[in-house]
């Protein structure tokens, strides 16, 4: 039981780390740190420089996807480790 919970928690931490990495790269990375370099690329068919678009549109979409991925993957992890809540 103890061991199983510890293993579950390690996997949760790994998932959290990966998703926060995505969060960082899409928002603070693409939208702020590398915005100028990315602006050299203009998204084809539009007038959006890529860095600017990431800052005002793309990052927000990625954030939604990150939370979606988290909710989905966590549910699978819960089930696998047998720690999901009972349906009342």
């Amino acid at each position: 039981m103890e061991q199983q919970h510890a293993r579950y928690w390690r996997r949760v931490l790994r998932l959290t780390g990966v998703l926060l990495g995505v969060w960082f790269v899409a928002g603070l990375g693409a939208g702020v740190l590398f915005k100028e370099q990315l602006d050299a690329i203009v998204i084809p068919g539009t007038g959006f420089p890529l860095g600017f678009w990431m800052a005002q549109q793309g990052s927000i979409l990625v954030f939604v996807l990150v939370i979606w991925g988290y909710a989905r993957k966590m549910r699978a992890l819960d089930r696998e480790a047998g720690v999901e809540e009972d349906d009342q």
Binding site: L13, G31, K35, L61, M74, R75, E85
Partner: protein, 602 residues
Amino acid sequence: MTVQVWTAIFVVLTFGLYTAIAWWTRASSTREFYVAGKGVSPLANGMATAADWMSAASFISMAGIIAFAGYGGSVYLMGWTGGYVLLAVLLAPFLRKFGKFTVPDFVGDRYESNTVRFLAVVCALFVSFTYVAGQMRGVGVVFGRFLEVPVETGVLVGMAIVLFYAVLGGMKGITYTQVAQYCVLIFAFMVPAIFLSLRFSGLPIPQLGFGWGGEDVSVLSKLEGLDRELGFTPYTEQGGGNVRNLFAITLALMVGTAGLPHVIVRFFTVPKVRDARTSALWALLFIALLYTTAPAIAVFARYNLMESVRDATWSVSAETNDDPSIKPLPEWVRSWEDIGLIAWVDKDGDGAVDYAPGAAFVGKPSFAPDEARGDHGERMLVNEPTKAKNELYVDRDIMVLANPEISGLPDWVVALVAAGGLAAALSTAAGLLLVVSTSISHDLLKRGLLPNISEKGELRAARIAIVGAVVVAGWLGIDPPGFVAEVVAFAFGLAASTFFPVIVLGIFSTRMNKQGAAAGMITGLLFTASAIVWFRFLHPELDTAEHWWFGIGPKGIGSVGMLLNFVVSVAVGACFPAPSTRTQDMVRAIRVPKGAGAAASH
């Protein structure tokens, strides 16, 4: 029917709806009053969270702020959405599993310390009050602008309505009214945006419309062309450059968002841990709908403004103009000048509008007495003109409020925007007031001064506290102290440098103890508060990039405060013994979802 009649109809209808919902969902226990009986579905909670989160400022001012800040406005877009990722993966599910009512509850129990609990209550009260004052003011301003009643009357009406449904329904009533308010506000925001997008780009999706059609034909590219022509920095580059400061501000807003008590508490209301996760997803999705539309509105509105006012002759209107070589002034410019949100000073005496970078005159417009008019029919100003070429003053709030008029939409759409602004302000105010009342009746009385208070007594105390909070908030709204606007922006910095690290460490470290937490919170609070007081109140003249600490301005300093908090907590924590086995077991228990039902029975 006039705009005023339409507005009155919408206001009565929506207020009636909110009141009816409050009556149906009135609370009968503290559990219902504080956390809606933990029976809210994730979808409904997502909508309620979105309405709770998006304030009068998000609805009315944000698109305008972005329109005038260009790329620089992105910090708000990323900051106020990115925070939900932190909330969803680091806080919400675990706090839901912990299963009590408030953030101070968690902090106090986790660190086995009433001092830490008290510190958390003080922070929660401070953050909530600074916020709520702005909301009440927002209600007053919307009333004033659309129904032409004094701002004070508007604030009083807003107070009465919030009072009714918050006192009656507590969290339960607030949650379901917020669901209705989200629907009203998002509809009111999207309708004009879709019309604007159709008009300028031919696409019904504003998010795509503002950049659609290649590098020369898209509205964004045309806007940048205009920027260059009139001497502005191109839109997508405005506000860039100082990467370190932008990074710090964005991070502070993100972390601050995740640390705001009125947002966190919303995740206590769902039945299960996995509902807390999906509920965060719904919340961000509903928020993203408005937050991805706002930058589109910003671009359309700014382009339309620049295109239609530059070199327009002030005294000529489109209807009476028969000389094709003269550009007439659009009618909406005149009607917003009447309200005082647009002002013009003819510096070069040519009777045409010169729109260029820089302020046209010093300060906000203050008009000459007796409705004095100049040579071209403009309202005379007493402000000192600046040396800049620019002659036009435009209030940022116009960008959302004037949209329906600019795109020639019917009067009922204008009224709809008014109802939307009210919904945004009321929903946020109610959520904040509930945090205030819970902090007082639950954290201060039940868990502090009067531990033996009965369930009934606690419920009564909560209702009395909410009445008191509404009165204080209304008073702050009618007579706002000058520093409110300043302080609201910094509530984020303070939330980032106090709450967030303490809660995260409390969940992710079993070793963290009360000494570490208290030392970290005090360090974060003192550091951030002193930076803000130093640059904003004591030495405002030093608030420029070369004097900033670590090259980071007061808006972003919360990020540094947060880092300091983490470092100090861990360092001090390591010097003192680990918390009791009971606490360590509790931390391990909140990490697994199983057994949430048991933990919830308080």
